[in-house]
Chain length 199, copies 2
């Protein structure tokens, strides 16, 4: 008895992570009752975003252009490459540390059970980048979770295979913690006292 | 350093109820990483919904047409009017009971502290409807919450003022419970043993 378009909206909202049938319903009602103007704005921005936003050719972060603003920025140190799991982690490091090198954004971490392997994370591309010889240090800033550690281990091996020195953020990250939630001071300290990965 | 359009998307997602900065970010990344096609579909449906979906002239439920399918349906008993808080509650009653009358959908309940009074709930329109004399019984199916009870009290008085008999779903709804989460049997029983509201 509900309007079909409303049903469509409720079911379309469920593509968002963490949104079940009840919250999709609540979202649809909320937008229709109180926020149509901003609902229309969300629709417009979302349509444009999925159309326009791609991945940066260099760091693989989301980007509207072939190269993202950070990779285009002059004066970054090209010999240091910091691997992070997400754009949010990259932002956290930019804001908390004095790092002036470049980044590589995985958009995930190794998780064989979820079908996320080296290919899904673009690690072949990273291997090619390391093979070019410009990078001297690969700073591995994956999270202190089990999967983040497994990813770090893989990355360290990849770096060594190409004669690049791998380093890992220092102990100090809370165990099991997501990097982006760490307080600035802890993150800055851990970043500063990163150590070469022992063989 | 993030793409401006991505920032726009993250902030636009926050109009959805229950979505904070972190979950908006997670939603944006998820759509861009894994679900662009369905993201585009959500954008399309949302744009159309906020444009096209209005309120039914008769029951005030969301509707694409001036009259919703249920209000247009032949053979409904026009002397019984059941007041519910939401389209979901209406659907629950349709599915659980044999009710064949009509509905009135408040899209909310009285909540003076939130600025939701009789006007916001369209109760003047309901008064006009009751004044027409077609309705003999006003079945009050607001939730068993404090605000739902206050709304029920107001509705009962409104009904009596127009010489309409108010009834309330029978005890049996769990206290403090949202009507739409009640199991079918309980809801059907409570609906069947509704009682006239005592003065
Ligand atoms: Zn880049
Ligand atoms: Zn209607």
């Amino acid at each position: 008895m509900t309007a079909p378009l409303l049903d469509q909206l409720i079911s379309a909202l469920r593509i968002l992570p963490g949104v079940g049938p009840k919250s999709a319903q609540r979202m649809a009602y909320h937008v229709l009752e109180r926020d149509r103007e901003r609902g229309a704005e969300l629709a417009r921005v979302l349509a444009e975003a999925v159309e326009v936003i791609g991945r940066c050719d260099s760091c693989r972060d989301f980007s509207q252009d072939a190269l993202c603003p950070l990779c285009r920025a002059p004066g970054r140190e090209r010999g240091q490459l910091c691997v992070v799991e997400s754009p949010a982690d990259r932002l956290a490091i930019e804001q908390a540390t004095g790092f002036r090198g470049l980044y590589y954004v995985l958009l995930g971490r190794l998780s064989p059970l979820d079908g996320i392997g080296p290919v899904e994370l673009g690690l072949e591309l990273l291997g090619q980048r390391l093979a070019q010889g410009e990078v001297g240090e690969l700073i591995i800033a994956t999270s202190a979770t089990v999967e983040g550690e497994a990813t770090a281990h893989y990355l360290a091996q990849l770096a060594r295979r190409h004669g690049v020195r791998p380093s890992r953020l220092a102990q100090g990250l809370p165990l099991g913690g997501e990097l982006e939630y760490v307080d600035r001071g802890t993150l800055s300290h851990a970043f500063g006292s990163r150590a070469e990965v022992p063989r």
